[in-house]
Symmetry: C2
Amino acid sequence: AQNVCNYFGYNPLDRCAHMRKDAQWLEEKLRDQSTVILLFHDLGLVVEKLNAQPRFTQPCHFTFKDISATLEELGTEKVLVFLGLGRLQSDNTDGPSPHTSAKEEHLTAWFALDVTSISQEKILSIKEGLEIASSPFPGLFQLPEKEAGIVAQARSLLAWHQRYKFCPTCGSVAAMEEAGYKRMCQKEGCPSLKGVHNTAYPRTDPVVIMLIISPDGKRCLLGRGKRFPGRMYSCLAGFMEPGETIEDAVRREVYEESGVRVGRVQYHSSQPFPLPASLMIGCLGYATSENISVDKEELEDAQWFTRQQVAEVQTGAPLPTDALTNPRAEGPSFFLPPAQAIAHQLVKAWLRMSPNL
Amino acid sequence: AQNVCNYFGYNPLDRCAHMRKDAQWLEEKLRDQSTVILLFHDLGLVVEKLNAQPRFTQPCHFTFKDISATLEELGTEKVLVFLGLGRLQSDNTDGPSPHTSAKEEHLTAWFALDVTSISQEKILSIKEGLEIASSPFPGLFQLPEKEAGIVAQARSLLAWHQRYKFCPTCGSVAAMEEAGYKRMCQKEGCPSLKGVHNTAYPRTDPVVIMLIISPDGKRCLLGRGKRFPGRMYSCLAGFMEPGETIEDAVRREVYEESGVRVGRVQYHSSQPFPLPASLMIGCLGYATSENISVDKEELEDAQWFTRQQVAEVQTGAPLPTDALTNPRAEGPSFFLPPAQAIAHQLVKAWLRMSPNL
Ligand SMILES: Nc1ncnc2c1ncn2[C@@H]1O[C@H](COP(=O)(O)O)[C@@H](O)[C@H]1O
Ligand SMILES: Nc1ncnc2c1ncn2[C@@H]1O[C@H](COP(=O)(O)O)[C@@H](O)[C@H]1O
Ligand SMILES: [Mg+2]
Ligand SMILES: [Mg+2]
Ligand SMILES: [Mg+2]
Ligand SMILES: [Mg+2]
Ligand SMILES: [Mg+2]
Ligand SMILES: [Mg+2]
Ligand SMILES: [Zn+2]
Ligand SMILES: [Zn+2]
């Protein structure tokens, strides 16, 4: 079977990790007129205002010329990250592969730049028709599929630089290296400088997210987080803890949040999630018990839903526009997250499975 | 199919996360005479000297009474971590499940204590016949299977406290909370205190490790890291990067290290790896190209091996005792990592698969 590709999961860039130490090559790439530079203001992506399509977010593709004054203003301390080389229009149709055999010259270089220290007004005046997608919802979830992965990569890296400015081992300032993929402590003699330590590298948090199937195979377990919009229910999920397997993390989080016991766990697919830098590990899990006892600290509710119930809301009419905010809006009694969420894909995968499995 | 259980992957404890804020309950558990406390000196586990079984490491199970003087000497700044409640002798035989329905009273509480600031001599004098397994090899890999997961959990947490003493957002001191599962910045007004941020939580690094199968299905790709012992070859592996899927990380690392292109990727199993706190995500990957171009910065060599070659060394006679250190030792022309390594299990899984798949 083909690998599933979730939203944020398709990234057409070759990261060219071996070039990250080559300052001259990077500088040449940055100045190339075909190069695309994404700007972020306090992690808000700078996008093109597209009035015609309000439900679609187009990242603005800046060139070096557009932002040369901005770069100068930022000075040497700036967070400028190399994303990779690639082509948005790929003629390669046999599935997602970040690697392309074409000659390097024909590929576009991509960078991301943090412009938080410059005023929003100044950034918005670089070009006409710009906007800052300050809130991750819905902006981050309406990107063209082929750019969503690039934006996820960029935003995760910038979020790391924003929160990890200091060496966690000694508290001194850490400085960016290797085109944004490393931060090294600047204090001589710091233990973090002896040997290889994760303190110097971007942090990615593994999270398990799982659709739990009832012992009779006829229902699935969905929950409502305390801050979920409207009547939305979704898969249970949780951060992995030190020293556990993916499978045990699924069992532990489901038990903690719902009291349901899980036996076998089956990996489905994964999704990078740039809020700020998680790796969603999507699984199906087979319950060995049914009684639900909701952890009221984390969830408002958790329930078993039949195949028919989820199939109806999944394939049903579009939600009324106020469904996300108004609990008394018309429409179905509950709804699922949109297709961009891996939870949605897990539900879909279960609906496609034979009910007798 | 049952889930595979790798070494370090079986952990019989219920972590009881909801009790981590209950200082009184934790104190009672700590003082209970049945409670087991593991000691680590600079991340070296304190073990029982077992001369009869030199290739077996038994963690010393300290009681509160054994270490009450040690606890006093450490004072209030000590790193004492609650691991969970459990039973080593489980009558539950239907596979790995950290959760048990038995009454809490019958379960043993487990803790881990960092005693680095006390001299080794003093620690070794707590009881007769103690030893510190200072080097992770081979000590960490010869634990009883039922304790390996507990030790992995404990060591990952202590390694985090050792390297993340300071707030990465502002450089101030961070203090331990919630029985060892949180560190909070102590500086008023630090941005890390507003909202939920990963800076406060233990770090787990996802790593992909993969057995790559040749296009004809007859061979697998193995490499030799620069610092591998003797003639050992193993699966390629690498840290996941921000904003990528598990599947793309497999493709990227294999391409970086060997030049081989990979198409479909199949998840196999996972393994917590406490050096210092990785999550090994084991996969099989199907190559779409064959030519190897070794990344000499990371690997000494990479080669395709036939089923017969790996089957021979996997099922062959035990290695001569000097095989790990002496490149000219007698025995097979190469060897695989031991059964405790997930790489070993990936090779085994491939050998069991039909050659025509
Ligand atoms: N890396 C992390 N980032 C953010 N929150 C975390 C992290 N690890 C544990 N948590 C805690 O996990 C809670 C969410 O619960 P869950 O996602 O079910 O594990 C958060 O409110 C935090 O208290
Ligand atoms: N979290 C991390 N911890 C340690 N090393 C890392 C980490 N992330 C990236 N690296 C780098 O990855 C190298 C090992 O390569 P690989 O395991 O193939 O990705 C190390 O030598 C580091 O330079
Ligand atoms: Mg949760
Ligand atoms: Mg959790
Ligand atoms: Mg939870
Ligand atoms: Mg590697
Ligand atoms: Mg790597
Ligand atoms: Mg590598
Ligand atoms: Zn430092
Ligand atoms: Zn702080």
